[in-house]
Symmetry: C2
Subunit: 456 residues, 2 copies
């Protein structure tokens, strides 16, 4: 059978596929709130039944938290594991929603039809694009394109407490040739993107202490060292005037962008003017010899996320404070070692302190960057077929944040992950009035059919 | 009659003088709290009656707030105006007091007898040292040493809202050759000090804005300019590595210390190690080519009194904030012009801002330094006689803070002020368990008798 037949089947079945998604969206599976425990369970049951309806051997699998859903089908060719999550974010503030978040609807908007409701994009709508592609394939071919494991989590929005134990306990059942995750978006809402670079994150809180109590600046001002003054000097030294981070050894393990990836990124026509213009800025503030895309995807950063010291209320107090503190985070790439950077940062701060000022440090997490290994042929196969669906060549892109499950697949199951998804920048995930474009859903299903056809 | 007779009379009368002070301390004249309005009025009445008891023509004079007390006596020689205030600070937190703040008592302590109670030092005890000296003089001589105007305010602890109008409306009656104020202390609790240099104060609040809303550092980190980073750079530039302030023109109008004053200060044996050691510091943090006393008395300063931006609560948020702000104050000396410095500071900040960051400024007060003119012979006459009472030569000293009334006497009445007082560093003014040493009270009365004898 040809791919065209599968694509046609997808087109014909779209109304029914939307109905199925609506049914799943009506289940308020908010994982973080114990009041919705039964709803999470019901969403898992719904998925088991839906997978079974087109021949997948599916089960609900208990955890100490919300259940996992596992399904298996046999087939020739590579073994792929597809991961998605059926739980959703809370809906507060409810008064900012234009409709009941769990009474979803198709709405006409100036930009086209959208599916409105909590989870429409993150991640129920995205998850179902893969499920619907498999259903259509099966209906046309009578079999599946390859061996597939379906793996749906119900705790992604609440920190995934059961995930690591479950991966460890079920490693053999879960291990595949490659993992597919549909929880990311199109580049600039139009270009299909396979996310291959995820930055890591290191958080540090510094507290500097000068005098042993708050002083009156009339009495001590001029003679007593002010810790805000010292903290400002230290933080001012974080970046040089070219935006380069000054902590010794910081760039150890930072790779140069491979030429083929750089070429792909240059070809994306990223409009950094619009990206920054949306938030009232115009000038990329990172390393001045790097492109804006590199700054947010492939280069490490140092950011001051918070600072406080002295009197910060209304009016004025002439206090000379005892303490000042700042929260600093580093986005990490490549092989940067979070623990080495933490130690280097602390030593670098200490070395700048004058007499009479001491520092204490508090660690806030440390995760290394996720650099996807893209040597599995599925990566180039997928990249090669997505252009036909979207009208733009697909690219291997980067991401400022991180997707922990991809890291666990690598570290626990020694399995590479291909992150590809159809969300748009304005989907308002985690916010009121979340939506998923019908175009994302429809072309997303077709895209998975193309990918499955290419990699089988 | 000799001075000795007056001093003897003061010694004999000390128990009665303490009883009088206790009576005044029992009146809870808290000026800032309307609940104590009648008590403020009663304190004024008490002073009128006490002045009248030894021949002063005294009156309570109404204002829109609490009344002033004015008294006059004739005499030969110079005309002096004595200023003090009969109102006191609130007593909160009351649970930190070891006794009822308005049930004063003489207590024995390891450092000698103290008068314990709200206002014992600030300023009822200090005010009464002058009154008691005049009473003793009158009793011995039958007349007063010179023409004296007594002027007591009841709103000093609540911003003196009625003072300037009252000075303007009663300028002719108040104008004297020199004003005396007893609201300051001994240097290091032992050396008699005539305070001649009061620093001014200029307050500024800067708010820097980068992005037009708070951003997620995962998405924008690296490309979007962070206003905390810019604020740190600006504040880091306030002082160079020698502690010198970098705002252009800042040192315009800053005088060098006259050699005779510098000699006096060098002779004080100021123990900056103990001064800083008390608050956990060891190294004077101001201009490195200046002595610690100069840093706190005669040199201008720039101090960061508060800073805030981004997330400052518990834990960590990877926000890239829209705004960051700081409160900065400058202590001013000599002829430094607060308004010129404000403009220069703002321009200096603006010139450091990168593209995409804007600054707004909020002014928080601007008062010039008070440099007492010490040409009136009373200054050297007083300085010459205090050593005999205290065992240390008196010095013309400086002060980090400001005493606004002395500035108004100069600007409105064209009258110089001699600030001299007997408070000690541990008097805990404005705090629980305020006290005044019986030694301060007794030697203070004797000191005024010596000064009046010298200047008449």
């Amino acid at each position: 059978m040809s791919l065209d037949a599968t694509l046609s089947r997808i087109d014909e079945d779209l109304p029914a596929a939307l109905d199925r998604l609506m049914a799943l969206l009506r289940i308020p599976s908010i994982s973080t709130d114990p009041a919705y425990k039964a709803d999470c369970d019901q969403a898992a049951d719904w998925l088991v039944a839906d997978l079974a309806s087109f021949g997948v051997k599916a089960q609900k699998r208990p955890t100490p938290g919300h259940p996992m859903v596992m399904g298996h089908v046999d087939g020739d060719g590579p073994h792929v594991l597809f991961y998605g999550h059926y739980d959703v974010q809370p809906v507060d503030p409810l008064n900012l929603w234009d409709r009941d978040p769990f009474d979803p609807a198709i709405e006409d908007t100036a930009k086209g039809k959208v599916i409105r409701g909590r989870g429409a994009s993150d991640d129920k709508g995205q998850l179902m694009t893969f499920v619907e592609a498999c259903r259509a394939w099966k209906e046309i071919h009578g079999s599946f394109p390859c061996k597939i494991t379906f793996f749906f989590e119900g705790e992604e929005e609440s920190g995934s407490p059961s995930l690591i134990p479950f991966l460890n306990e079920n490693a053999q059942e879960l291990k595949a040739d490659i993992a597919l995750i549909c929880d990311t978006g199109l580049f600039e809402s139009r270009v299909p993107a396979i996310m291959t670079q995820l930055r890591g994150l290191l958080g540090e809180e510094i507290t500097l202490t000068g005098p042993n109590k708050d002083l009156h600046s009339g009495m001590y001002g001029g003679a007593a060292m002010n810790p805000i003054r010292v903290l400002s000097k230290v933080l001012a030294n974080l970046h040089d005037d070219q935006g380069r981070i000054q902590v010794p050894g910081f760039y150890d393990g930072v790779p140069e962008l491979p030429p083929e990836i750089k070429a792909q990124w240059d070809g994306l026509g990223f409009d950094h003017g619009a990206f920054l213009g949306d938030v009232g800025l115009s000038h990329p503030a990172g390393e001045q010899d790097r492109s804006a895309l590199e700054m947010i995807w492939s280069r490490p950063t140092a950011e001051i996320n918070g600072i406080t010291g002295g009197y910060t209320g209304d009016g004025f107090k002439t206090v000379l404070p005892s303490k000042a503190s700042a929260k600093v985070s580093f986005r990490l790439v490549g092989q940067q070692d979070p623990h080495a950077i933490r130690e280097n940062f602390r030593a670098w701060v200490q070395a700048q302190l004058p007499e009479d000022v001491t520092a204490t440090f508090h660690a806030h997490g440390a995760s290394p960057a996720g650099q996807m290994t893209t040597t599995h042929p599925a990566f180039e196969q997928a990249r090669g077929v997505l252009g036909a669906e979207w009208g733009f060549d697909a690219a291997f892109t980067g991401c400022g944040g991180s997707i922990p499950v991809a890291g666990y697949f690598k570290s626990i199951l020694d399995m590479d992950t291909m992150l590809v998804g159809w969300a748009k920048d304005d989907d308002q995930i985690h916010s009121p009035n979340e939506k998923y474009d019908v175009e994302s859903f429809h072309k997303g299903i077709r895209s998975w059919a193309r990918i499955l056809d290419a990699i089988r």
